[in-house]
């Protein structure tokens, strides 16, 4: 046997993610209390159902289910045509009924995927529907402003006679619809997670089913992180390739309830380092739930009072199962708005924009719609899509406080609509052909498509939109 010290270890992070997205339905998931709870007087959006009073029964919100399925479809999930709700049983003061109505073995969506820019696929394990809990804050009984104090019970002490520490509950949020999206552990670094999250946020905003406002807690993030160890064990004295073994992590560390993309990145990076240090010492990290502390800038173990974790799921007897037909799902699919990826490809294709511009214009649906409308108006005034894109991006136009027609008018008035001077084009074409000999060679040897690359290179040199067909003709002429 080779001595242990010659063993080189490599650690590959294995990261999965659970995201809760709060839907922006008018009413709650299982009762018709208004779901618009943010900033409202406490306990003014409650009823027997969301307070969990004896005998109250849930009736599911059709719109929320439709939206959950739309999210699942946009993540390329299969839809369970027969689905149902289940009870997840656990005790916590913010959980009115002592169980959360969720979904167990028949989630609305399963086996989806989302593609990152690198082409890497992140598999989506499931997309299911559930209900939110009440909001807990911490303070002291005698403190008049205790309900305003931040989490952690850090209210100043000694200001009143009664310093008993208490938790305060507002049930306005109890029962607001949540969609939980669970990935397979397919991420290997924090950057990928961040890109995934941005994409997810973009999708739910495109679908117009959630504000996905991080500040308001519309998206709650829970990464689980472990490290896979790869051992390279060189054989003593022999010149053969090392034996490589992959050991699946025997533990998983979950970091709960993070409410910003930045903190998720930080938490993951911190965890990777922390776990690496433990593994280096020959120990194994503990399977546990941790939280992200903004103050300490690190993850901290959540020493919950020794908690039994057995949710005792069983089918919710109060809600009949939900069945969809294939036709209903395809109708829903056809009614869905164009999603970010599709819009991105179309913009590239249809408006001959570069990646950078397209990226910015399609980031939010409102801007993309604004752009398209401006292009339509601009056509009649010889204003090109590129000119509109430039204006929208450079001037950071806010689509909610501006009109597409007035943007077009601005462009016309600023006199940007010019035709290119022939000498200028000829000069640039010469430069481009000289510095792209390979493409020139390809074209000459019969690769027709190479010319489009050259056209693109030429067009990049212009700040204003020029006619691609003119450029193409010029290049063709020069190479013939």
């Amino acid at each position: 046997m080779a001595p242990a010290k010659t063993t080189a270890m490599k650690y590959t992070p294995v990261i999965g993610l659970e995201v809760h997205v709060e839907l922006k339905t008018m009413s709650k998931m299982f009762c018709r209390c208004s779901a618009d709870y943010f900033g409202k007087e406490p306990n003014t959006h409650t009823c027997p159902v969301c307070l969990g009073l004896p005998g109250a029964l849930p009736v599911a919100n059709a719109k929320a289910i439709e939206w959950c399925i739309m999210i699942a479809l946009s993540l390329n999930c299969e839809i369970n045509l027969l689905s149902k709700f289940d009870r997840k049983n656990y005790f916590y003061p913010d959980l009115a009924k002592g169980y959360q109505i969720s979904q167990y073995d028949l989630p609305f969506g399963k086996n989806g995927s989302i593609e990152l820019k690198s082409g890497k696929k992140i598999r989506i394990r499931r997309v299911h529907m559930e209900e939110d809990t009440a909001k807990l804050t911490h303070g002291q009984l005698g403190d008049q402003n205790s309900e305003l104090s931040a989490k952690g019970g850090s209210a100043p002490s000694g200001k009143s006679q009664n310093n008993e520490k208490v938790s305060l509950i507002d049930f306005n949020r109890s029962g607001v619809p949540l969609v939980e999206i669970v990935t397979e552990p397919d991420f290997s670094e924090a950057g990928e997670v961040k890109e995934y999250l941005q994409k997810l946020q973009q999708i739910v905003r495109y679908l117009d089913v959630s504000n996905a406002d991080m500040e308001k807690g519309d998206m709650r993030l829970e990464p689980n992180i472990s490290l896979q160890v790869t051992r390279n064990t060189p054989h003593e004295g022999k010149n053969v390739s090392p034996v490589t073994s992959h050991e699946l992590p025997s533990y998983k560390v979950e970091v709960k309830n993070i409410n910003s993309f930045r903190f998720v990145e930080k938490a993951i990076n911190f965890e990777v380092k922390r776990q690496e240090d433990i593994l280096e010492k020959g120990q194994s990290p503990v399977q546990e739930t941790r939280g992200w502390s903004e103050i300490k800038n690190q993850t901290v173990s959540q020493r919950l009072k020794e908690e039994a974790n057995d949710y005792r799921y069983f089918p919710e007897p109060d809600i009949p199962p939900i069945r969809h037909t294939k036709e209903q799902i395809s109708t829903l699919l056809s009614r869905m708005p164009e999603l970010p990826d599709a819009k991105y490809s179309r913009f590239l294709r249809e408006f001959s924009l570069n990646d950078y511009d397209t990226e910015i214009l399609t980031r939010e649906k409102s801007l993309a719609d604004f752009f398209e409308e401006a292009v339509r108006v601009g056509k009649d005034h010889s204003v090109t899509p590129k000119q509109i894109a430039n204006t929208l991006i450079n001037k950071k136009v806010d689509p909610s406080s501006s009109e597409p027609a007035s943007i077009v008018k601005q462009i016309v008035q600023s006199g940007q609509v010019t035709s290119i001077k022939e000498e200028e084009l000829e000069k640039i074409v010469t430069d481009v052909l000289e510095s792209n000999q390979k493409a020139v060679g390809d074209y000459k040897s019969g690769k027709e498509t190479a010319i489009m690359f050259l056209v693109g290179q030429v067009m990049r040199q212009f700040t204003t939109k020029i006619d691609a067909s003119v450029v193409k003709e010029t290049i063709k002429r020069r190479l013939s």
């Binding site: 339905t25 008018m26 009413s27 018709r32 209390c33 208004s34 779901a35 007087e41 406490p42 306990n43 003014t44 959006h45 409650t46 009823c47 027997p48 307070l51 009736v59 599911a60 919100n61 059709a62 719109k63 929320a64 289910i65 916590y92 003061p93 002592g98 807990l136 804050t137 911490h138 009984l141 008049q144 205790s146 309900e147 989490k151 952690g152 019970g153 008993e164 520490k165 208490v166 938790s167 305060l168 509950i169 507002d170 049930f171 939280g291 502390s293 173990s301 959540q302 020493r303 009072k305 039994a308 057995d310 069983f314 089918p315 007897p317 809600i319 009949p320 199962p321 939900i322 069945r323």
Partner: protein, 93 residues
């Protein structure tokens, strides 16, 4: 079979006295023995029935209805403060 009565009580959020634990342990054992007779019934290839109504898709439209007044929502609570329900502090890190 042996029931871990302390674990079950914890899951059930019940505080049981030593006597209760002993008594329930025995009674639960007896009850489980009685219901073991279900194993005499062959259920191979039988689907489950969790609801007998045969109903499906009983859903409601997303139209908000009035909620309870705050005072009515709080009326049955032992302890409230500034419109909120009060419980003993839940310790969090």
């Amino acid at each position: 079979m042996k029931i871990d009565i302390t674990h079950i009580a914890k899951l059930a959020n019940l505080t049981l006295s030593k006597e209760e634990k002993e008594r329930f342990s025995k009674q639960l054992d007896d009850t489980l023995t009685t219901i073991q007779q279900l194993n005499e019934v062959n259920t191979d290839n039988i689907e489950i029935t969790s609801q007998v109504t045969g109903l499906e898709n009983v859903l409601d439209d997303d139209i908000p209805q009035p909620s309870l007044q705050q005072k009515d929502a709080l009326a049955n609570a032992k302890s409230t403060k500034n419109g909120l329900f009060v419980v003993k502090a839940i310790l969090e890190e």
